[in-house]
Symmetry: C2
Subunit: 287 residues, 2 copies
């Protein structure tokens, strides 16, 4: 059945999700905080250390905004095995509290015909149920292979957030662990593609692959340290496109180029130097 381009504008039911410091700490460990040196990054990995207070990684917005893609069903039936995560953007309206509850509402904001497949974009906003304030916005873009050719608009194209032709202004390399996905999945995405070798084989992979959003979290953690003095209150937005699967155990190198006041473009490279998260852009506030 072809994709229904009239699904643009459809909004899903609101979904509530609550969290505690345990979830915050688990997410931080899942994206590598404390792994290189457990005496560093204590503000991300502990809630009761004497010299620091717990803060929440901005990229945790992607797991706390769970349920934002509920409108997805309106696009029609398709083979979920053909869906890949294309792009992810987050906007932070303030620092995420170390415990709380959000209500998330998502709307289909774009359906594009790329001929070889369809792109579906969902924009969701999560509101703090205590204060009524919007906490963060997620824009998730999915590419569904084989579902193009339905006669829809092609949508935005062309290069974006291109890295300047010079050495990066900032760079950091993090090791991921071979069992990284086993930990990251406890933050919510239990897709066995990331844990079960038998299931991964059905998907055509030699072994389970890392969650794209885990790479995204490692990257956001790197950008937080490189550009925001490790202060989540200064981290205002981040976007990027998933360009290659990552295997757990690969090193990830985050390269960033400052392109203006409070903005930078970035790329994340896998262990062999290929780009795994591309066309990245991050914005941040002054200290």
């Amino acid at each position: 059945m072809p994709i229904n381009p009239d699904a643009v504008g459809v909004t899903g039911d609101p979904v509530r999700h609550s969290w505690t410091s345990r979830d915050v700490l688990l997410y931080a460990l899942g994206v590598g905080a404390g792994a290189a040196d457990p005496l560093q990054e204590l503000e991300l990995t502990t809630e009761n250390s004497m010299d620091t207070d717990l803060v929440v990684l901005p990229t945790m917005a992607v797991v706390l905004g769970v349920g934002g893609t509920g409108a997805f069903g309106a696009i029609g039936t398709f083979n979920p095995a053909m869906l890949v995560h294309g792009e992810q953007a987050i906007t932070l309206h303030g620092p995420i509290p170390t415990k709380g509850e959000v209500e998330t509402v998502g709307t289909i904001t774009g359906i594009y015909d790329k001929v070889k497949g369809a792109v579906v974009e969902v924009t969701s906003t999560s509101t703090d149920t205590q204060t009524g304030q919007a906490l963060f916005t997620n824009v998730m873009s999915a590419f569904i292979r084989g579902e193009g050719g339905f006669g829809g608009e092609r949508g935005p194209s062309g290069p974006r957030n291109v890295a300047p032709d010079r050495a990066p202004d900032h760079t950091v390399t993090y090791e991921t662990r071979t069992d990284q996905a086993l930990l990251y999945r406890l933050s919510g995405d239990r897709n066995p593609l990331h844990s079960d070798p038998a299931f991964a084989a059905f998907g055509g992979f030699d072994r389970p692959i890392l969650h794209g959003l885990c790479t995204y979290g490692f990257t956001g953690r790197g950008l937080l340290h490189l550009l925001c003095g490790s202060d989540p209150a200064r981290f205002t937005s981040m976007e990027g496109r998933f360009s290659s699967p990552v295997l757990p155990g690969e090193a990830l190198t985050v390269n960033a180029w400052e392109t203006g006041d409070g903005e930078a473009v970035f790329q994340t490279l896998g262990g062999d130097g290929r780009v795994v998260l591309d066309a990245g852009r991050v914005t941040f506030a002054a200290a």
Copy 2:
């Protein structure tokens, strides 16, 4: 104020604790499951793999039986910084379900005067609130330095569960990670002695030490594989005495000697070969 030996027999209020597969998986990762090879031990680290079903590590009884030591207050006031975990025994009355709820009731079953300190033993039983069946029993023994000399009984003494004078029948070595305690603590014990270098320094340690019960969990996992064919239903009991602090990052070697039908004694050694969990005994059922 001296220890009150008449507190023997005092029972604490019942405490309920529930868990889901997320807690089961988090505990297993906290005691090293999947770390050496994420494609092994899937029965401990995943709930949706095609070739295996999730099972619960028997030593998870020590965290699910939380609240069993509520009677402890009856012994009188003492400096909690002087308390160290002495011994831990668990008895499994059947395999622990992958989700559920237990009600735990603990009783002070022994107070002993060791002159240099007091030993307080609490025995707690945890009952499945759905079935009404006892699931497991914990016996926790604490040593409180400086609280001896109150004129109580000395209690049991002399060597127990002595390793035979021959090479072990079974042995396995596991690496722990330098950030192992940051993960293990999410199973419940957030004592900053295991995470905060500033707090650990107050306790006289150069850096945070591993939870004794994390060493206990690594050991129980090793015994499960070595002696029970990795089947928790065959694992019926385990006891041991904490004899030396472990630093995260040390390797742990579990040595076991079969001493009869369905029983073995064991020792766990730290990275330098010293004994860190001593006088161990484990019982198990035939396949």
